[in-house]
């Protein structure tokens, strides 16, 4: 989608190019005039196309007219609309034709998106390349991404030029250009087609441009940066076989106007016959019969307007929504043996190792360089003090398109053996045998307790009864439950998300339909994520079936809100039935909206999906943590202690995601850098806090009750409620009346319903704003803290909501630390202070002073919260292990244990023997069971490392740690025998 805003192209002129960046003067033309040329071209092309196309997609027409206007620049919005219909494809070479530049770029980003590359490396790499070849790296001098482009060979002074990328709030653009893109892929794809501010369009390396199949691209991608030194890259471009039929090529020889027009006509024909490929033609290196480098200084290339529409993000695997007629006959490509060559070349390259990147090696860059991960076991053994069993895992030969997940060993490595003592989450000792305690392995509650806990946790509405809970959960861990679908379902049954959704759908007052929050809280997450929920929910919630209602509810919130206002009726607690017709209408609207999802929302959605995918490393960490919290509700010393561990987990997962290769494409290519942390934070709320919300609330309340604090708070609130404003310190300003107090109460109640601490804080700000408004309406003057804090205290007392205490706690501990200094942090502090004064109200009346205990708490809180700003390493929360006990004839019982990376199988076995109450542990052993095999694990091996190794394998695997009788061979499948399943203890 392209959309021009003439005001904008000039607005960038104030941007100065940094000295460090050499801007080639050659061929630079006024970007805006180029741009208008483009627009004209689009317009005429669209007109032509409409006439020519046999079957016009209505959505296409519509979109070419209803371009979304965005302030701040021309905006190319990635669309998820039309993709090519696979079912229509009957011809040879169809795969190649279906791959757009965007797709090629997206698939091969490990090759050209080399953020860790220095200028020297870029220089070295690109010098060997023909003009137009490029890579994207991050300039250390500029602290920005730059597009490094090989210029014409004879311009010897500056063979490489670096074009800085501007990252705005939601867009990427090249310095000096008025055209913005939603992400880096769209940007690069565009510049492969149009030169805009560049001297000439970018050029894809031959191997990428000419790849005919996904597989070929995968092979290229697997080489990562190593591609540039590989034979695949240096493959002579003068291949004896032209890879592309001439009829589809905008002939590079033609440079004068007339011929250009002709070429464009030709392309239109091609477009008519095949909507996808023309876009890449100009940039595909021509076969040898055509002159090389003939693009240089050539005219501005055209962008096929269909480019962005027909090629949505290929990584999203969108189902084809529509397809255009394809005529393949005249496009018969000349076959070549290239794919075979590729295989050969790649095999040669496999052993080749690349020098490490200069910057701290994030796991993913290391991964890129390792086309085939070595078997995890031995590799880890070399890098680890203790040795690993040699044949723990049998690896099926696989060539996988996905890069292997990060080696969890990276995370494990960073945890020293003494790590457990510094764990932020020291769990109180449970009654255990002393030697077991020494292992620092804490076993989870058994399943009966879990079931009880869940039923206590206020989840009765949609939670399956405990009886059914148990078997389904066991499925996920015992060999019988191998199917992925079942496993996932059972995982979800442990999650509280479903009850969450239900709760939302039952509470019409649920106010995500907030007005945007004040700027101190980033506004957009608040606004966006409510919509984001709506967009994402269809897919997410299918697992537990109640999602649709919740989803509709989310979409309907604005309606509810306006209704509520107009009628002025309090809807709290009531159920609200929506007319079906309305629902239908809104779901349509929402369907349209979801196609306009921003990269930010898509990223959050992807992370949320990843977090539920237990076959991913990230997903297994999150799911393990969630089930650990659910199963171990009483192992914390206080609510704050508990919330801290949750906060720390989220912070660590953010750090992990920043480095992880599991997010593919990397987040830097989708989200401007200054937004990454915020986007990750939003994603973590969704991944962690959303499923845990009700459990967290229950845990906090338990502490409140058990410590007696709740009772005391109730009493103090009752006393405080009787006080007049003056007695609370209010001097002069007019307090809210009972109607306003009720309104505020409703806002506080709504606050309880959201899981995101930021949204909660935004609601708190709305309350404060209301208080200010009432104060000011009655006097017209500005009120500072001298007047506001007493008034807030009075209001909190009048609201008489003991549960507000845990709400404040939740916000204070879980809010993104970077927001604590801002407005949200200020009013949160004030709310905490007001609550603290009320808690000590009676005392205060006597002593006029807070107890030293309360003071201490404040002190500690601050220390803790500021300490958290240092980013922790990824480790502590990987320390969960789910073990199933398998008994003959009686199925499985599973427990989640806390097992640190250096805990041995032997230690875990004795823990299991204790926890499962096995009278004869000498007859039991730990087995690793996966789809085909079952292997007994040697006593001195480390289950966490084995688990990490398994997760780093390219293919997603279901596996379980099963504790069972050694003699129980009848449970083993024949494959085990062949594998020699029982590893001798060393």
């Amino acid at each position: 989608m392209i959309h021009a805003d003439p005001d904008v192209s000039g607005s960038d002129s104030d941007e100065q190019h940094d000295d460090a960046v050499r801007n080639p003067s050659c061929g630079l033309t006024n970007s805006s005039s180029n741009f208008f040329k483009l627009i004209d071209t689009f317009a005429s092309e669209i007109g032509e196309l409409k006439k020519e196309m046999v079957q016009t997609s209505p959505s296409l027409d519509k979109e070419s007219v209803d371009l979304p206007r965005l302030e701040g620049g021309v905006y190319l919005q990635p669309r998820q609309c039309v993709s090519m219909g696979g079912e229509r494809d009957s011809g040879y070479d169809s795969l190649r034709r279906r791959m757009s530049v965007l797709e090629r770029l997206t698939q091969t980003h490990p090759v050209w998106l080399l953020l860790g590359f220095s200028e020297e490396e870029a220089m070295r790499t690109l010098l060997k390349q023909p003009a137009g070849v490029f890579l994207v790296r991050k300039s250390t001098a500029l602290q920005r991404k730059v597009l490094s482009v090989r210029l014409e060979g004879d311009q010897s002074e500056t063979p490489i030029s670096h074009f800085p990328v501007r990252e705005r709030r939601f867009s990427f653009s090249l310095e000096g250009s008025g055209i913005s893109f939603a992400d880096l892929f769209h940007l690069v794809a565009f510049y492969c087609i149009s030169r805009d501010v560049l001297p000439f369009p970018l050029k894809l390396p031959e191997a990428i441009a000419s790849a005919k199949t996904q597989k070929e691209l995968e092979e290229v991608a697997q080489l990562g940066a190593g591609f540039w030194d590989s034979a695949l890259c240096s493959q002579p471009r003068s291949s004896p076989h032209p890879r592309r039929p001439l009829s589809r090529t905008l002939s590079p020889k033609r440079t004068n106007r007339n011929e250009e027009v002709e070429g464009s006509r030709q392309r239109q024909t091609a477009t008519h016959s095949d909507s996808a490929p023309p876009t890449l033609l100009p940039h595909t290196p021509p076969p040898s019969s055509h002159g090389k480098g003939s693009y240089s200084g050539g005219p501005l290339c055209f962008v096929n307007p269909l480019f962005l529409q027909t090629h949505p993000h290929s990584w999203e695997d969108d189902p084809p929504l529509g397809s255009k007629p394809e005529k393949t006959a005249e496009l018969k490509p000349v076959g070549s043996g290239q794919s075979d060559e590729c295989h050969g070349d790649q095999n040669k390259l496999k052993g080749k190792s690349r020098p490490p990147p200069p910057r701290p090696p994030p796991p993913r860059s290391m991964l890129r360089r390792r086309p085939t991960p070595p078997p995890p076991g031995p590799a880890q053994a070399t890098s680890r003090p203790k040795s690993m069993p040699e044949a723990v895992i049998t690896r099926p030969p696989s060539s996988n398109r996905r890069p292997a997940p990060p080696r969890p060993s990276t995370g494990v490595k960073s945890s020293s053996p003494s790590k457990s003592s510094t764990s932020p989450n020291p769990r109180p000792p449970r009654p255990q045998k002393p030697d077991l305690e020494a292992l620092r392995c804490h076993i989870a509650l058994d399943d009966e307790t879990i079931a009880k806990a869940l039923s206590r946790a206020n989840l009765p509405r949609c939670q399956p009864p405990p009886a059914t809970e148990k078997p389904s959960e066991i499925n996920s861990e015992c060999p019988a439950g191998r199917e992925r679908g079942r496993q996932r379902l059972s995982d979800m049954s442990m999650s509280t998300s479903s009850s969450d959704s239900l709760e939302y759908s039952r509470s019409p007052g649920y106010s995500l339909d907030l007005a945007p929050t004040p700027s101190q809280l980033h506004q957009d997450p608040v606004e966006d994520s409510s919509e984001d929920d709506a967009d994402g929910e269809d897919e997410e919630d299918e697992d537990y079936g109640v999602g649709l209602e919740a989803d509709l509810e989310t979409r309907l919130r604005p309606v509810l809100k306006s209704r509520r206002r107009r009628v002025g009726v309090s809807l709290s607690g009531g159920s609200f039935d929506l007319p079906r017709s309305l629902k239908g209408r809104f779901s349509k609207v929402s369907g349209m909206l979801s196609s306009l999802m921003t990269p930010e929302k898509r990223t959050v959605k992807r992370i949320a999906e990843l977090s539920r995918d237990k076959s991913s490393y990230f997903g297994s960490l999150v799911q393990d943590y969630i089930s650990f919290v659910q199963e171990n509700r009483s192992c914390h010393t206080s609510g704050m202690d508990f919330l801290q561990t949750v906060r720390q987990f989220m912070t660590q997962m953010k750090a992990y995601l920043c480095q992880s290769s599991e997010l593919d494409p990397p987040i830097e290519s989708l989200i401007p850098e200054d937004q990454i942390d915020r986007v990750l934070e939003t994603a973590m709320h969704k991944c962690v806090l959303k499923p845990l919300k009700s459990v967290i609330e229950a845990i906090l309340q338990d502490f409140q009750v058990s410590s007696g604090a709740l009772q005391q708070l109730r009493e103090n609130l009752a006393v405080a409620k009787t006080k007049r404003p003056q007695e609370m310190g209010v001097d002069g300003a007019v307090p809210p009346d009972s109607v306003a107090i009720e309104k505020i109460r409703q806002k506080f109640l709504n606050m309880r319903k959201v899981y995101s601490p930021e949204k909660k804080v935004s609601l708190l700000l709305r309350v404060c704003k209301l208080i200010y408004t009432i104060m000011q309406d009655n006097s017209g003057r500005m009120y500072g803290a001298d007047d506001f804090l007493p008034m807030l205290t009075y209001v909190v007392a009048q609201c008489n909501m003991p549960q507000l205490d845990t709400e404040i706690q939740y916000m204070m501990e879980l809010l993104d630390p970077s927001l604590l200094q801002g407005e949200g942090g200020y009013y949160l502090t004030s709310a905490y202070g007001a609550m603290a004064l009320i808690k000590n109200f009676q005392e205060e009346q006597a002593a006029r002073v807070l107890s030293s205990e309360a003071r201490n708490t404040l002190h500690q809180w601050h220390r803790r919260r500021t300490a958290q700003r240092s980013v922790p390493s990824v480790d502590d929360f990987q320390n969960f292990l789910r073990v199933a006990l398998q008994e003959v004839g009686s199925g499985c019982t599973a427990k989640t244990l806390q097992v640190n990376p250096y805990t041995t199988i032997e230690e875990v076995c004795s823990l299991c023997a204790y926890k499962f109450k096995i009278p004869d542990p000498e007859n039991y052993a730990m087995f690793l069971v996966d789809e085909d095999t079952s292997q007994q694990l040697a006593p001195d091996t480390h289950p966490q490392l084995i688990k990490a190794g398994l997760h780093s394998r390219p293919l997603a695997h279901t596996f379980h740690f099963v504790y069972r009788r050694v003699s129980n061979l009848n449970l083993c499948t024949p494959a085990i025998m062949q594998n020699g399943n029982c590893l001798p203890a060393e």
Binding site: S11, E15, Q16, D18, L70, E71, G72, Q143, E167, R168, R169, A515, P516, T517, P518, S519, Q520, Q523, D524, D674, G729, D731, L765, R766, C768, K769, L770, Y772, M782, Y783, G784, A785, D786, F788, L789, P790, L820, Q821, G822, E823, Y826, Y827, T829, S830, Y832, G833, A836, L837, E844, R848, V849, L850, A854, R855, L858, H859, W861, H862, T866
Partner: protein, 196 residues
């Protein structure tokens, strides 16, 4: 070129009625920057001022001056880069309170906190109770910034914050900073805050 914004938490201390929030309101409202979205109320205000190669965004935390709220002050001044302690030159008591705050900050405040002492209401010189000399000497003894202001007449308000800005040590490593803060971008109007 984008300039890094550095956020600086500033805490306002002082007796109730000395004009803490008046000073800040004056500071924020003069030369009002329309690009910066307003805050919901006067207890928390922000203002961005250039300082050398940096932009300093003051996040100004007002505190309640009444005795009963004193115990909450640590939450407000912790993490502050600077504290402005305000007294009323026409009220000796408020100067005594100021001395208590100085003492508390020395004992419990952040180590490198910049302390500024502001004698407000200097437009009421004829009923002055705190001699300027005495206040100035006290400020010098604790190496604090000293300035007499008049929020009402907008006297020395800008200067107060400029002097604070100058005392904030510049960041040594701009690279580190660029991770912590954000670049200035022209914010689209659509993100302007709406509130209830």
């Amino acid at each position: 070129l984008a300039m890094a914004i550095r956020e600086l938490k500033v805490c306002l201390l002082g007796d109730t009625g000395v004009g803490k929030s008046s000073i800040v309101c004056r500071f924020v409202q003069d030369h009002f920057d329309h690009n910066i979205s307003p805050t919901i109320g006067a207890s928390f205000l922000t203002k961005t001022v250039p300082c050398g190669n940096e932009l300093h965004k003051f996040l100004i935390w007002d505190t309640a001056g009444q005795e009963r709220f004193h115990s909450l002050a640590p939450m407000y001044y912790r993490g502050s880069a600077a504290a402005v302690i305000v007294y009323d030159i026409t009220k000796l008591d408020s100067f005594q309170t100021l001395k208590k705050w100085v003492k508390e900050l020395k004992e419990h405040g952040p180590e490198d906190i910049v302390v500024a002492i502001a004698g407000n209401k200097n437009d009421l010189g004829d009923i002055r109770e705190v001699p300027m000399k005495e206040a100035k000497e006290f400020a010098e003894s604790i190496a604090a910034i000293f300035i007499e202001t008049s929020a009402r007449n907008a006297v020395n308000v800008e200067e107060l914050f400029q002097r604070i800005s100058k005392q904030i040590p510049p960041l040594e490593n701009p690279d580190v900073e660029s991770n912590d803060s954000f670049k200035i971008t022209r914010q689209p109007a659509s993100t302007a805050r709406r509130c209830c």
